[in-house]
């Protein structure tokens, strides 16, 4: 048994942080918060604080990585050393490299990379404070940063996780639920096409539970999508 496990996760229909089973944590999204980046966004999502920046389309270094038929999209997910309880050594570890990869694959389907052959579009995601769900927070921030940079896209990509704790399917796990819960299912999607671009899962779910969790996560994505659009509207006005 892990140290620090709570006895119960759900008491009278409420989770340990007071939320209902299908309730998101509080989310604040702001677009365009950095000067040097071509586009940027800041997202506070419960105890997560994440910044994303986009540079590009720009020249590719080293050159041999460039593609003659499209821009390459590169994503880097990074945690500040002080963003977690035990200081994280600077530089990429295996976890952050996997998240960088799935983040790129979550965003790539919406970017019109074919418009910018021989260039790179770079997305940097910095986790400044972590509390479960940083990859979803990062993807949500990154797609606002891409939009803020004026990169042509089919849609924004919202992201949200569902999971299972105390035998129940719940939306948007926070840290205690993530550490001691039974399953976690982060999802990202293209709302306009109702298609899924990120799907990972670990834990234990029956097929029925999985189906329910997937549906819940997609509903969470739609809520995040509204907040993303609102943030862009606040900055740019109009729809």
């Amino acid at each position: 048994m892990k140290v620090g496990e709570p006895e119960k996760f759900i008491v009278k229909g409420k989770r340990l942080d007071g939320r209902k089973l299908d309730e998101l944590r509080e989310i604040k999204i702001e677009a365009g918060i950095l000067k040097r980046a071509d586009g940027s966004a800041y997202v506070e999502w419960g105890g997560n604080k994440v910044m994303a920046a986009c540079y590009g389309p720009r020249e590719v270094h080293p050159r041999h990585l460039a593609r003659s038929d499209k821009a390459i999209l590169r994503c880097t997910y990074n945690m500040a050393p002080f963003s977690v309880s035990d200081r994280k050594r600077p530089g990429p570890d295996r976890r952050s490299r996997e998240i960088s990869k799935v983040t790129r694959e979550a965003l790539e389907p919406v970017v019109f990379t074919n418009l910018f052959p021989r260039t790179a579009i770079d997305v940097f995601i910095e986790v400044l404070q972590a509390n479960a769900g940083t990859r979803c927070t990062g993807i949500a921030a990154a797609s606002v940063a891409l939009a803020d940079a004026g990169i042509p896209m089919r849609d924004l990509v919202p992201s949200c996780a569902a999971g299972k704790v105390g035998g129940e399917i719940v939306l948007d796990l926070f840290d205690v639920e993530d550490n001691f819960g039974e399953a976690d299912l982060p999802v990202a999607m293209i709302p306009r096409k109702n298609e899924i671009t990120l799907l990972q899962m670990d834990g234990n779910l029956t097929q029925e539970e999985f189906e329910k969790a997937l549906k819940l996560a997609m509903e969470g994505c739609i809520k995040v999508y509204e907040l993303q659009k609102e943030a862009l509207r606040r900055k740019y006005g109009g729809a």
Binding site: V3, R94, I196, Q200, N204
Partner: protein
């Protein structure tokens, strides 16, 4: 040029699939021939060679005594590592693991870990001080597609093959194995599906992997419980496709699991 060839190849494969055929004449839910051979490297505490078609992956399990993680003082430690060595493909390069290699290692690791395949609590020697460290090393020898399923299958086979080494005064005596096995509770397997245009096939061959839009791997245990999933590739899945893949994957998983007996 390169891109044009890829486009033509994809059209060819996708057209075949739309007519219900695969380039190597398999059914959409057919694996290539599978061979699992245990006990192939005797310096390892456990090992298995898995062939799926021409893909060959060798997995070795080493055991050592070390410290537990501070938050799990009574549990053994599982470490999964993959090497896509340049012997196995003209496209693999020397050097530290790239993101594809890391992804394979981490997805195999999650399948084992989340299914509680190994009873790690039985691997505590002195609480908070000494526990068994299990190294699962995935060594890819010939890459002809679908490394996820081959690696995951081989990892569990190698764990099942593992005998505890002799220990004297807290030193592992590597030359001498006991007959004691690792405490294995579950047998997870992973099944991987490729989506090419609208078609979804199991166990993608190398040619299919090169043109696929997206990939979905599902790990299930012997009870049909889903214990890990991983989507890959720059394409997308609909909700319906995912639920369909889970059903097909659970079924194929039961077949794969027979190779572990």
């Amino acid at each position: 040029m390169f891109e044009v060839v890829a486009e033509v190849k994809k059209d060819y494969i996708a057209n075949l699939l739309e007519n219900g055929k695969r380039a190597d004449e398999r059914g959409f839910d057919d694996y290539r021939p599978i061979v699992v051979e245990k006990g192939v490297s005797n310096r390892a505490e456990g090992s298995a060679l898995v062939k799926i078609g021409k893909t060959q992956v060798l997995i070795g399990v080493k055991l050592a005594i070390g410290e537990p993680f501070p938050d799990m003082p009574n549990s053994g430690v599982l470490t999964t590592n993959a090497e896509l060595i340049p012997l196995a493909s003209p496209d693999f390069e020397k050097g530290p693991p790239d993101e594809d290699t890391i992804e394979i290692a981490r997805v195999v690791d999650r399948g084992i870990r989340e299914s509680q395949c190994i009873d790690l609590d039985k691997l505590c020697i002195v609480a908070g001080e000494k526990v068994w460290i299990i190294f699962v090393d995935i060594h890819v020898l010939d890459y002809d597609g679908n490394l996820f399923d081959a690696s995951a299958l081989g990892a569990v086979a190698a764990l099942l093959d593992t005998c505890m080494p002799k220990v004297e005064e807290d030193m592992v005596i590597y030359g001498e194995k006991t007959t004691e096995r690792l405490p294995i509770l579950h047998k997870p397997v992973e099944t991987t599906f490729a989506k090419i245009n609208k078609s979804i096939v199991v166990d993608p061959s190398l040619d299919e992997e090169l043109v696929m839009d997206a990939r979905l791997t599902v790990a299930t245990d012997e009870n049909g419980t889903i214990c890990a999933m991983q989507k890959g590739g720059s394409g997308t899945f609909t909700q319906e496709e995912i639920l369909e893949i889970i059903k097909r994957g659970t079924r194929k998983g039961s077949e794969l699991r027979k190779f572990l007996e």
